[in-house]
Symmetry: C2
Subunit: 221 residues, 2 copies
């Protein structure tokens, strides 16, 4: 039987691999929209089934380790955190797929170019995702907390995109179907930010043993 720490490392490595693919899917989905690149969007759709397989594999690994190793304390929290992060990554993969599908239906639409905040949201949510996965692997609660702050910035970019699109629709109702697709893309990016925030909260809990999940929400409302 191999060392437990080696198996945990392999689980971490798999999660990071999945995280990297998901991060790349977000970026390729948004690039396909901005650069009117159909093959790139099709690549994202193909990779979604790889992400789904990774999710099932990681779920199997974590559950097997829970059963065979019967971990306690930090190792137990690590495995339950891995199960949750896995689910969040898979849902982010779904959201990237939604963006890619909408990008395919929006090829060559001039309204896209008027929205600089969409590429900004793309790079911001990818940086959040990258940070929270780094924080997970390094057990760095401070890094995880820095992700929680970025969530507000994502929301304000979403709001500004939303306002511009509302204005465009009011001026010209013909734009309505296209503008709504773009509103959904901004909303998908915002939800990716929400999932990164969930992961960051799980990491803080893992490292500090403090549940920060519903505190950020209380301060928001």
């Amino acid at each position: 039987m191999r060392h437990f720490s080696v198996e945990l490392e392999e689980l971490n490595r798999k999660l990071l691999e999945m995280g990297a693919l998901v991060e790349s899917s977000i970026h390729r989905a948004v690039c396909s929209l901005i650069e009117e690149n159909r093959p790139l969007a099709e690549e994202v759709l193909r990779d979604e089934s790889t992400i789904n397989h990774m999710e099932m594999e990681i779920d199997g690994m974590a559950t097997r380790l829970l059963a065979l190793r019967q971990p306690v304390a930090r190792d137990l929290r690590l495995l339950t955190a891995a199960l949750k992060i896995n689910t969040d990554l898979e849902r982010i993969g779904d959201l990237a797929e939604h963006i890619a599908k909408r990008a395919l239906s929006l090829m060559h639409d001039p309204l896209v170019k008027t929205l600089p905040d969409i590429p900004r949201m793309d790079s911001l949510v990818r940086s959040m995702l990258h940070k929270c996965l780094d924080a997970f692997v390094q057990g760095d609660a401070e890094l995880a907390r820095s992700v929680l702050v970025s969530d507000d910035e994502v929301n304000s970019l979403r709001d500004s995109t939303y306002r511009e699109l509302l204005e465009a629709m009011r001026r010209d109702p013909v734009l309505v179907p296209v503008a709504i697709k773009l509103i959904f893309i901004a909303r998908n990016l915002e939800r990716i930010g929400d999932h990164a925030t969930n992961i960051a909260e799980d990491v803080v809990f893992l490292v500090k043993g403090i549940d920060v999940r519903h505190h950020s929400k209380l301060s928001e409302s």
Copy 2:
């Protein structure tokens, strides 16, 4: 030390209690919209923090049982399923809160009355949620599978609502901000259906040991 089966029953009972509150929140949120009932929406907003507390409590119970009882086989799958179902229920609670907030901002808007599919979606997703939680407690994979079928119906109700609202905005651009809020409400209800589907898939896995998660998606695309 109490019997493990008694503790598992208590966990089930807590999950069902949370499920019942979440189900009621969805219904009250939609009723507040349809009946222009402000206090009802405010009740939903208040209950959201109760749902958040329940989530943390159930998470703590399941993790403690994983640590102390070191379960294997079906009990282990039961506890990891409880952790996932708990997360889905909490997110459904968030979605009910979003609907209630939008209902508050839409009080006395005549456009709402033109959308009979929104109350239909409400009763359909609540029935899905109810069935998948019953299926969890009774270990009934057939009942869980019946939920997977309803998801298509939710999507088609969402599509018809969406089409009507697009048409309304084209006719009268002044309606754009209201119509977009209503599109988001339909989308929130659809996402509640997605979470119920996730729970149903977890129940099938729990009972049968078969992973059906990504098969329904393959047949959709």
